[in-house]
């Protein structure tokens, strides 16, 4: 008779698989970050720690190379633009869709989720054609890139804010109406403060999406001034890359992670852990 395992004992196999998976997914990123701090020009041979590719090198560090600097600035500008447009628009759309029970609301609900499931390259090509053929006057460049990013980032805002709207329910708005508040006051005095954590969280997600985006941003770019970090990384990967690129990628990564961490903390602080689980899809 085989010895029965203690059914209350901790599982041993699952943690091992999890640890291997985590290590495997972090490894490439870890190596890329490590070489951002390399003292030599090599991206494969470790030559000691330095900050030369961030600030030290007078010509090719992120701080001094105009191409890298411009890419970083443009990425941040696009991110801010995207947040400034997609967040209020997405909140309005979420409110509208949540309250709208009329004919066609189901269709719009499905359409809203399309950008989430459409392959990005399809979106990119479609948007390129749109800007070349129909909105030719607008042309390619920063405006087109911002509009393109807003187009798919909007869905994320709607999904996050609607989730919160569902959990809030109608009772607070009804209570406000009952106490005499007209529609505008119900929105400003009650609904928006209650939605604040979801709005902040979605703004952060939009910012992170914008910084990370490559396909759409690439398709809708025009000259060198509209090159973003991700585009630059892609373009110079086959040239003569220096660890300055790793430094640039590291900066972009840190900004993304910091933004998402901030969103996570804010949302958990104000909306409760269960809401975070619903949005982040993780178990706390």
């Amino acid at each position: 008779m085989s010895r029965l395992r203690n059914p209350w004992g901790r599982p041993r196999f699952l943690p091992l698989v999890t640890a291997l998976y985590v290590a495997w997914s972090i490894l490439p990123v870890g190596i890329a970050i490590l070489f951002a701090f390399n003292n030599g020009r090599s991206r494969t041979t470790w030559q000691g720690f330095s900050l030369r590719w961030f600030t030290g090198d007078p010509n090719s560090s992120v701080l001094h190379d105009p191409a890298l600097q411009s890419a970083l600035t443009h990425t941040l500008i696009l991110g801010v633009l995207c947040v400034a447009v997609a967040t209020p628009l997405g909140v309005a759309l979420a409110l509208g869709l949540q309250r709208w029970r009329g004919r066609g609301s189901g269709t719009v609900n499905v359409l809203m989720l399309l950008p989430l499931v459409t392959p990005e390259i399809v979106m990119g090509v479609a948007l390129l054609l749109l800007f070349l053929q129909i909105f030719g006057g607008l042309g390619l460049g920063t405006t087109a890139q911002a509009i393109g990013q807003v187009t798919f980032a909007l869905s994320y805002v709607v999904v996050i804010v609607r989730g919160r709207l569902v959990s809030i329910g109608r009772q607070y708005e009804e209570a406000a109406a009952d106490l005499g508040a007209p529609a505008f006051d119900r929105l400003v005095r009650v609904l928006l403060p209650l939605l604040a954590p979801a709005i902040l969280a979605s703004a952060a997600v939009v910012f992170a999406l914008s910084i990370d985006d490559f396909v759409i941003t690439q398709y809708l770019s025009s000259d060198a001034g509209t090159t973003t970090v991700s585009m630059l990384l892609y373009a110079s990967a086959r040239g003569a890359p220096t660890p300055a690129l790793n430094a640039l990628a590291t900066i972009a990564l840190v900004i993304t992670l910091a933004t998402l961490a901030l969103a996570f903390v804010v949302y958990r602080r104000f909306a409760g852990a269960s809401a975070v689980e619903a949005v982040a899809g993780v178990e706390m």
Binding site: Q171, A176, D178, L179, P193
Partner: protein, 358 residues
């Protein structure tokens, strides 16, 4: 005096479902009026129509003579106390209570005075800075009450305000709420599914079932003189005995139950054919087997139940029904054991004829 509510042939349909099916109710100013009924009977929908959250399909809601059926909720001088309280979680107690004063054109000093006056009325002085999630259920309930009453509404609409509280607290708050109502003198239209709550608190009640008012009146009258089988069954405990009405006999009605004839003086004494004979358990008298006289039925004790201050006998009568008899616990041992044959005396003045529900 203000605060009169009159509902006239009020109907609400949701798609094909009729939630409120033409009700007419009059609530005079200052009355504690309760809508009571099982879940789905339309009582909350009725309340939400008075508050303005639902638009009536047809009919009128007269508030002091003015039809407000088409007025949006924020322009109605009535306030709701929600079952879940719906306190704004991002505002503290004082800001919650002061929320509606913004639309009442009061000065800052006046607002501060009224908030503190209101909070001391509901015994929450000193809690101004707390957030709703730092309060107990009973305290939240009192904040919700203060938030509504501070606007001096003509009518207050509490929607099962005690439903979320435990039994003990509920009893205390019933008394407190009733006291508060007579103190401020505002009309209450109170919704509950708890028949005991309805009976203890109200000046008048309306028992609702399937979107209609089955019966309205003072609690004692509705309890003592239920007009329908539903009301008899819903309010308190009733014995409903299947019987055949054999026609009026003077002021009473002769009923055939199995082989026996009973005389009932109450209810629809002019009924004929199949009816229900109704009697409250506290009016049934249990006598030794073989005792003679009118209005007596033989039976057998099926269960003897000890209820603390009361004891209850379940007696199976000929014809199959079970009649419950309840008597105060006087400290003596139960005279009838399980299985013992007994005779039930159903006094004619306590026996009521009810036409069966259609």
């Amino acid at each position: 005096m203000e605060g009169e509510v009159r509902l006239e042939s009020l109907v609400k349909r949701f798609g094909g479902v009729v939630a409120v099916d033409g009700i007419d109710v009059h609530m005079p100013p200052g009355e504690f009026f309760t809508l009571v009924g099982p879940s789905g009977c339309g009582k909350t929908t009725t309340l939400r129509m008075i508050a303005g959250f639902e638009r009536p399909t047809s009919g009128h809601i007269l508030l002091d003579g003015v039809d407000v059926a088409q007025t949006p909720p924020h322009r109605r001088n009535v306030n709701t106390v929600f079952q879940s309280y719906a306190l704004f979680p991002h505002l503290n107690v004082a800001d919650n209570v002061a929320f509606g004063l913004k639309y009442k054109r009061v000065t800052r000093d006046e607002r501060r005075r009224r908030v503190s006056e209101m909070l001391s009325l509901v015994r929450l002085a000193g809690f101004e800075g707390r957030k709703p999630d730092q309060l107990s259920g009973g305290q939240q309930q009192r904040v919700a009450l203060a938030r509504a009453l501070i606007l001096r509404p003509r009518v207050l609409l509490p929607d099962e305000p005690l439903g979320a509280l435990d039994a003990r607290l509920r009893k205390d708050l019933q008394v407190e709420l009733k006291g508060l109502q007579s103190e401020v003198g505002v009309t209450f239209v109170f919704v509950t599914h708890d028949q005991e709550e309805a009976l203890t608190m109200s000046d008048r009640i309306a028992v609702m079932n399937e979107g209609r008012v089955e019966q309205a009146g003072p609690p004692q009258a509705v309890y003592e003189e239920p007009a329908t089988v539903f009301v008899a069954d819903f309010l308190g405990v009733s014995n409903l005995i299947a019987a055949e009405a054999a026609g009026a006999d003077g002021a009473g009605c002769m009923l055939r139950v199995g082989e026996r004839m009973l005389r009932a003086d109450q209810g629809a004494t002019d009924a004929l054919g199949e009816v229900k004979a109704m009697i409250r358990p506290e009016r049934v008298r249990v006598e030794p087997h073989g005792s003679e006289g009118a209005n007596r039925l033989p039976g057998m004790v099926e269960h003897a139940v000890f209820l603390g201050s009361f004891r209850e006998l379940h007696v199976r009568i000929v014809g199959g029904g079970v009649v419950k008899a309840i008597a105060p616990n006087d400290g003596t041992p139960l005279p009838y054991a399980q299985g013992a044959p007994v005779t039930l005396h159903l006094p004619q003045e306590a026996l009521r004829v009810l036409a069966p529900s259609p």
